[in-house]
């Protein structure tokens, strides 16, 4: 930017006018196949079957759908808490351990992240089934007598989703933890703080913006998940994204489908706005 400001003024003008043209193809794609269809879907939620807000009344007024909302927030909340509690210590170690080892751990994290979502979910369906490895192991260790129901319920969804979300907590946190100056902790120790105090009064508060930002991101991503809850969850703990798909695919009720989609969209946008406004680590500095 600075460099182009030093070039000749006339030439710059030409280039400036021209540069908007470059974004036009991408902009057309986004306008026609993203903005317009989403707006059309939202229109249908207030126009079908008859104009009015009855779809929203039904969606927000019935206990069936309220349970879907509740379940969506429960799963997303559980996954976020578990992923942060497990992910923070891992990111901590990754930030300070010798490069040789951290590269290996990073390779494992990235591999799991890029493995096809269905392959990962299938793996957990097999691992967690009644005759699966997890149940067999728990039984041979004498922890349980008969197989536990680990799929088609909250446990299955939480395990499968945590598996997917862990990298999204760990990767951004590494950068945050690396940016903390170890001298601050040495100073705290010199001033007489013990290990626990160093952790709770210095390290944790300094990494809190990163934790909050990662947690919110994982929470929002979990809210909109479709595939993993549909395969690992049961019918009694349906999530919002499944509800949207069900309205459209099985019930062909575009009005209700649009309304559920708008609710999901609104919650997502509001949470992202909070993220950008208050938790953006780049802006905090």
């Amino acid at each position: 930017m600075v460099l182009s400001a030093t070039t000749d003024g006339g030439e710059r003008k030409i280039r400036r006018n021209g540069s908007f043209g470059y974004v036009v193809p991408a902009l057309l794609l986004i306008a026609f196949f993203f903005i317009i269809p989403v707006l059309m879907l939202l229109m249908r939620s207030v126009l079908e079957p008859t104009p009015g807000l009855q779809n929203y009344q039904e969606l927000l007024g019935s206990t069936t759908y309220l349970r879907v909302f509740l379940n969506t927030f429960t799963v997303a909340g559980l996954v976020t808490v578990v992923a942060v509690v497990i992910g923070f210590p891992v990111a901590w170690l990754l930030a300070i351990m010798p490069d040789k080892w951290s590269r290996l751990v990073m390779a494992i994290i990235v591999l799991s992240m890029w493995t096809n979502l269905l392959a990962r979910t299938y793996a957990w369906m097999v691992l967690l089934q009644r005759t699966g490895v997890v149940n067999k192991m728990l039984m041979s260790l004498g922890i349980i007598d008969k197989p536990l129901a680990l799929v088609n319920n909250l446990v299955g969804v939480t395990i499968g989703m945590t598996y997917i979300m862990l990298p999204f907590v760990i990767l951004p946190l590494i950068g945050i933890l690396k940016a903390i100056d170890p001298a601050i902790l040495r100073a705290a120790a010199l001033c007489g703080a013990n290990k626990r105090q160093c952790f709770t009064r210095v390290l944790l508060p300094l990494s809190l913006p990163g934790i909050a930002s990662g947690a919110l991101m994982v929470f929002v991503m979990s809210l909109g998940y479709y595939v993993t809850p549909a395969l690992l969850g049961g019918t009694s703990n349906m999530m919002l994204a499944e509800l949207v798909a069900q309205f459209v695919q099985s019930l062909v009720n575009w009005g209700m489908g649009g309304a559920a989609a708008l609710v999901l969209l609104l919650v997502t946008m509001v949470l992202y706005a909070i993220q950008l406004k208050f938790l953006n680590p780049n802006r905090a500095r």
Binding site: L111, P182, V244, A261
Partner: protein
């Protein structure tokens, strides 16, 4: 002290132990699926009673699996090309331009990546039903392009940030036309960004499940749609075989990307 690996004290075994467990948690399901795809048990008993290629034979004997894999490849290849071209142009515009609303536009381009994909899938499905694009290759390409494009814009945008534009200007001063300078000077200089954009775009399309479920028709399915449809019926080991092939493919692309990065550094 807490940020010094050698002075962690009692915390060190705890952190290392937990990290090792997390690594196992992350890698074992993948290893497990690969192992089961060679196991003889129909009921996916582990460890398998004996080893076999039966599931791979079944996979390759069924033309629908093969056909869906080819469909996936074709769509991903076209999406990659379009995503890199549109992404390069958009990144160039966002990087060079000073028109109003540049930041808002950048945010808009990245929105499809952060939005719940099911909303986009349902909205596109409704539009495509009206346009007659539902269940067509064109529909698939448009849908996958929407989620691949943000990866291209980010990767190529980052590369352009690190490129000194005055080199391009020098080429123009030496008599190259603006586009000649861009293609022969700028493109090679940001080739690592273009390469990353291509790999990410390909994987984004190759792995897409939710959009694909809504874009598919009984006669036009990508590999993930075929796996999804089969999964809803039973957990046959044929899926383990298909998943293993998908995973192998991903590892191959990741190794390629790593080698490319290493080659650049050397």
């Amino acid at each position: 002290m807490l940020l010094d690996f050698d002075k962690l004290g009692g915390l060190k075994p705890f952190l290392i132990g937990l990290t090792a467990l997390v690594c196992l948690f992350l890698i074992l399901p993948i290893v497990f699926i690969a192992a089961l795809s060679f196991g003889s048990s129909q009921w996916l008993i582990f460890p398998p009673p004996s080893w076999t290629f039966k599931w791979y034979q079944m996979l390759f004997a069924d033309p629908r699996w093969l056909w869906s894999a080819l469909t996936s490849l074709k769509i991903a290849a076209i999406v990659t090309v379009l995503s890199v071209i549109l992404g390069f142009l958009a990144a160039l515009g966002l990087n060079r331009g000073s028109f109003a609303g540049r930041e808002a536009l950048r945010a808009l381009f990245l929105t499809p990546m952060i939005l719940p994909v099911v909303v986009l899938a349902v909205a596109l499905y409704a539009l495509f039903l009206q346009l007659g694009l539902a269940g067509t290759t064109v529909g698939f390409i448009i849908a996958h392009l929407l989620i691949a494009l943000p990866f291209s814009i980010i990767s190529i945008g980052n590369a352009l940030e690190g490129f000194d534009k005055s080199i391009e200007d020098a080429a123009i001063l030496c008599g190259a036309s603006p586009w000649e300078a861009r293609i022969r000077v700028t493109v090679p200089a940001v080739s690592h960004g273009i390469f990353a954009a291509a790999i990410f775009s390909f994987l984004a399309s190759w792995d897409e499940v939710v959009l694909a479920i809504f874009m598919a028709s009984p006669t036009l399915q990508t590999l993930p749609v075929k796996i999804w449809a089969t999964l809803r019926q039973d957990l046959t080991p044929v899926i383990a075989a298909a998943s293993t092939i998908l995973i192998a493919f991903t590892i191959l692309l990741m190794v390629l990307a790593a080698l490319f990065r290493k080659g650049r550094k050397a």
